[in-house]
Amino acid sequence: MRGYLVLRVIAKLLIPFILVFGLYVQFHGDFGPGGGFQAGVIVAAAVIFHALIFGLPRTRRVVPEWVVETTVAAGLLLYIGVGIAGMLLGGTFLDYSILLHDPVHGQHRGILLVELGVGITVAGVMLMIFYMFAGRTRTPHSEK
């Protein structure tokens, strides 16, 4: 899409705002609508938008495949880690009340971290599926 100047300018303008909106949905999810899943797909959609306008090779340079692959597992590990942290501090699995001195603050902290884990994994999986689909070509020889 080298020739489409308008699309490229608009994309450059829009992508930061989409990413900020994703972060807002992620971290404001305990007050307003939204949460990890929604934030994850919004962030993934922003990167996919980048790939549609600037081409997959450039997006792969911005967000390398190994990063995406890591995030697929990192989010789930963060979620399980919060659960195990509760166990190590003397509570039960996924009991957030133990995490801080005040049970209510602990709950708040736990929910924030767990939602972050959901967001990271969802964004990673969505992007990874896109990379896998978009990376395929019709003939064996045009690949790589």
Binding site: V104, V125, A134, R136
Partner: protein, 183 residues
């Protein structure tokens, strides 16, 4: 009254889109109409005050899955093959199933009614104690992440497993390439 009007218009547009999808043989048009269908669905969720679901539908249904379908379409032909079977039997099955589902909705409690059975069990406790116990004003988030933390963990595991499955299926070099790299 206004909500009913908006919903009726949106649902009629969705029905028109669905008929368009069924009648079209051009798969590119089908994918774009499918995206339109998802956007209309997202708008209906918005009217029903389900903003979370609406965001997910707009981003996944209209955005990401459309892109995935388009990139799949690039690998295949963009014209649908003529069906070999008579469409009467599938049509009959669809009509009977749809009729049964509509009949089933007659037995459901009124939409949004606080007296319905699912709102009697633990929901009052969540609504009263949730903000106090978790300090999170959004009860949906409190239920999903805290009270139903195990369910959400399972959900994330399902997403993770799906992603790993796609990676294992699709990240496969072509056989001639692999032979070349072995040499």
């Amino acid at each position: 009254m206004t909500t009913t009007l908006i919903n009726t218009v949106l649902l009629l547009m969705m029905a028109a889109t669905a008929i368009g999808i069924v009648r079209s043989r051009n798969l590119f048009a089908v994918v774009i109409l499918g995206s339109l269908y998802s956007f209309l669905m997202a708008t209906i969720f918005l009217v029903l005050d389900a903003v979370d679901v609406s965001m997910t539908e707009a981003a996944v249904g209209a955005g990401i899955s459309t892109v995935l379908l388009l990139s799949t379409l690039y690998l295949t032909r963009s014209e649908e093959a003529k069906p070999i079977h008579n469409p009467l039997l599938p049509l009959a099955v669809a009509l009977v199933t749809g009729g049964l589902l509509m009949y089933g909705t007659l037995g459901l409690p009124e939409f949004g009614s606080p007296d319905s059975v699912i709102h009697q069990h633990v929901v009052p406790r969540y609504l009263q104690q949730g903000p106090i116990e978790t300090g999170v004003p959004n009860v949906v988030t409190a239920i999903l992440a805290s009270y139903r933390g195990f369910d959400t963990l399972g959900e994330v595991t399902v997403v993770f497993t799906g992603g790993v499955g796609v990676i294992m299926l699709l990240r496969r070099r072509w056989r001639s390439d692999r032979k070349r790299s072995e040499k």
